[in-house]
Amino acid sequence: MIRGRRSVVLLRHLVLVLLSAAMLVPFYWVLKTSITDENIFAYPPHLLPTDPNLFSYVDVWYLIPFPRFLWNSVVVSLLAIAGNLVLNALAGYALTRNFPGQRFATLLLLSCMMIPFQATIIPAYLITAKLGLLNSYLGLALPLLSTIICIFVFKASFEAVPRSLVEAARIDGLGDLRILWRVMLPLSRAAIGTNVILAFTWSWNNFLWPLIITRTVSMQTLPLGLANFLSYMENTTSALYAFVVMVLAPGIAVFLMAQKEFIRGLTSGAAKG
């Protein structure tokens, strides 16, 4: 019996290792291409990098406006994170209060969740143009300043705060804003973490909206810069793959730091819809 179970465990590990290797191969392949020095189109392709060097990364840093793209992405992401924290906390708190129209507001938000961004691009472009926000940081961040999934994450977290604390604060005469800031938010650190990581990831990876909104190269974000580099350099140089690695690194680093919050946000938010 025990021997049977051990071989089953080994089999599970074997299958998982094979599948994991298959999932990781694209990462390795791109990493290898970015540090190899030879002509990357040499056939047959070498499985190990020849003459590994990091100079492609130096090329990407100087010969492409990579610092500018990075800065733009960072600014837009910070705007999105700040907006999400403020707006979602306010909205989530409001949804926990009983007021006439609360159910209507909740239903409205839930139904808005069914409208994907892709169904709104043309009017969204026209609206942003009318607001005069084309090609600006605010215009880039505006549709991302609040997300419904994150509102419900805050709502669930606020509803878990013991009512006695809220009642005590109210008796002390604290206004709603103070209650939110002093009582609810300190107890909702997980929800804040989820908000931050989801807002960061969605704004950092956003490609379609910057593609529509930006008009000049100096306002492009990282995904846009990467796609443009591909379109005029094709894939002739290993610098493209160094660019890809440099673009993926922050995303992967942030994800690894905040894995739990990210996954929790996605599963709880997805379950709501």
Binding site: N53, V58, D59, L63, T237, A253, M257
Partner: protein, 129 residues
């Protein structure tokens, strides 16, 4: 005090702080070593230094190359550029009708000072009489 320590040791604070320190350290290193000095030697096929050879400096990017400087070697066959501000350059020496192969120099940051490890060799140069 303990609360501040827990707050400081949080991974969301440690990682950005460490990154910021690395970036700061790197920038300090760069500013100390970025004078744009490229120095090297020109020799002929037998290894003897060649005086008075013309050395040309090219700046490269992905598609083009631009000639940005020219200098001559001194009596010991050594040359020196002092105003390089690129990270990807090519050097070529020429004297008496013979030219050396193009040598690509890849630097870690713009205007990094570099002393070439191997000299530019002029093959096919008639030995000085």
């Amino acid at each position: 005090m303990r609360r501040w320590r827990a707050w400081l040791l949080n991974r969301f604070v440690v990682v950005p702080v460490v990154l910021a320190l690395i970036v700061l350290g790197w920038n300090i290193y760069v500013s100390l070593h970025a004078h744009g000095v490229i120095a090297g030697e020109v020799v002929d096929a037998s290894g003897r230094p060649v005086a008075g050879a013309t050395v040309t400096l090219y700046h490269l990017n992905f598609i083009t190359e631009v000639k940005t400087g020219e200098t001559r070697t001194n009596g010991q066959g050594r040359f020196r550029f002092t105003d390089n501000n690129s990270h990807l350059i090519e050097l070529q020496a020429a004297a008496g009708g013979a030219t050396s192969p193009r040598v690509t120099v890849r630097l870690w940051f713009r205007a990094q000072d570099r002393d070439l490890a191997s000299p530019l060799t002029l093959h096919g140069l008639a030995p000085a009489s």
